[in-house]
Amino acid sequence: MIAAHLPALQVVVPLISAPLCLLLRRPGAAWTVALAVSWFALAVALSLLIEVSIGGPVSYPIGDWAAPWGIEYRVDQVGALVLVIVTAIGAVVMPFAGASVAHEIASDRAYLFYTMYLLCLTGLLGIAITGDVFNLFVFLEISSLSSYVLISMGQDRRALTAAYNYLVMGTVGATFYVIGVGMMYMMTGTLNMADLATRLPAVADTRTILMALAFLTVGLSLKLALFPLHTWLPNAYTYAPSVVTAFLAATATKVAVYAFIRVYFTVFGEVDLFEIAPMVPILMVLALAGMFVGSAVAIFQNNLKRMLAYSSIAQIGYMVLGLSFASVTGLAGGIIHLFNHALMKSALFLALGCVVLRLGTVHIDGLRGLGRRMPLTMAAFVVGGLSLIGVPLTVGFISKWYLVQAALEKGWWPIAGLIVLSSLLAVIYVWRVVEIAYFRPAPEGSAAVEEAPIFMLAPTWIMAGASIYFGIDATATLEVARGAAEFLIKGAP
């Protein structure tokens, strides 16, 4: 019986546990709840992925009201993959959170941290699973509001302004999204994605729908930090608590990208977007610009969190680029990068979290000689960095391979060149860190630094290990990504 209700449980269990955490109030208990829920959610997500891979999409009408009258949950391969990403990151990050939160957040507020984390998880999962455009908005807001709070919990006071800016930009984005939804609703009378997909072609060439698409695009681009709408991201990632950065960097923008995929390939799946909208080439240009600007700015950052934040902007560029090819290979490349980037970025940010715990700084100068003093942490960082570059045997290589292949399939030479060129920029910023950590002596008279505790190292290395494992054997992930891409491109909702 439980199996039939997995889609509902996926979201509802974290949702129920959030008020529980609030009522429990003890940091330890809250942490335990959050941990248990995260792992439970991962189990659910995995079984959903398996179910979907075998039996095709699953639909779950909430309240037994059939779509389009009620809200429908719909899990297909992409959705399930994103669910797995989000829950896996959550599950791995939580053990890490115990020590890191105790270090960075006042203990009388820690239970609120876990409450917020669970809400954020709820929101992200809700976005990934829902089949209703307005329901997506509601869960988008749940995840956004909670992430604003999470970010503002950072130690630095700049975390506050970062959160505020994110809030303003995020709300504008969400409002744009709602305008888009409203326009679509106006022309079709429905909010269900599948229903929209069947009804949209009839009105696709109206100016209203064109603008609806434009507003949806802009709104979601704000959320996923597509260049040049990325300005909220660097500060938000830089000043948020380490755990939050690791979690959000690996999930929040990914889920936004996912929502983007949903809109473009499910809702507008039956419409030939390339015919009606100049959006696709624009997206491609923006993605490329993001790749270069992000990487180029990252080179000049001295705060490592900020450096990685800019690198995220570049990586988001890769994903959107993959989508903008609108070919199976390109979309698969985008989806696989979604997964891969989540792995490597969380490894990197978790490693930085260890550094913060021990050093209290992520300034590049503080890392002198750290390769010797915290060998395991820095080794994980290097693995993540290599993956960013796209060195073989890491996941980054797989993504890059697919994106380049997609570009070549279309015969778009210069783009293939640009992809590798921008990955070479990654060499520069990653290598700055490596040189400092390994080839500079520790500053004179610096306090002895020991390795991070096992509770923090283990999650870091799980992520680093995963980014190697899935770099060596990418068949499983690629199968899912390709399957998802084929499914989406066919436009069958």
């Binding site: 908005f137 807001e141 604003y148 630095d156 709300t171 504008v172 709602v178 969190k305």
Partner: protein
């Protein structure tokens, strides 16, 4: 095209843009929040406008009434209003904290003396 029929929407759009303008052009953090609210309320009005049916009444079932306005946008907007107020509350909470930390609520006065000290 029925210009009169669209006039309603245009007014709403003007309102939206006023709100949006406040958000992006003003440096005062509270004013930004107000702008955000204006923007959102206008969007709500936009939704409600589309739900109106000429000659319809409020969507509460009663004997003898055939034409009701569309209840679905009402529901959506109820939700959206709540989301809006939630956002406002959080934003204002942040403003208070920012004021505590920096002593100002003007965006351009929030300057950081030290660079990259995190």
């Amino acid at each position: 095209m029925d210009v009169l029929g669209l006039f309603n929407y245009w007014i709403v759009i003007v309102l939206m843009m006023i709100g949006f303008y406040i958000v992006i052009s003003h440096g005062n953090l509270v004013k930004k929040v107000v702008g955000l609210n204006v923007f959102q309320v206008s969007v709500f009005v936009f939704f409600i406008s589309m739900s109106k049916v000429r000659g319809g009444t409020a969507p509460i079932l009663e004997e003898g009434i055939e034409v009701y306005s569309n209840p679905l946008p009402h529901v959506l907007i109820l939700t959206a209003i709540v989301v809006g107020v939630a956002t406002t509350a959080l934003a204002l909470g942040l403003v208070v904290r920012i004021r505590d930390a920096y002593g100002t609520i003007e965006a351009d006065e929030i300057i950081e003396p030290e660079e990259d000290g995190a």
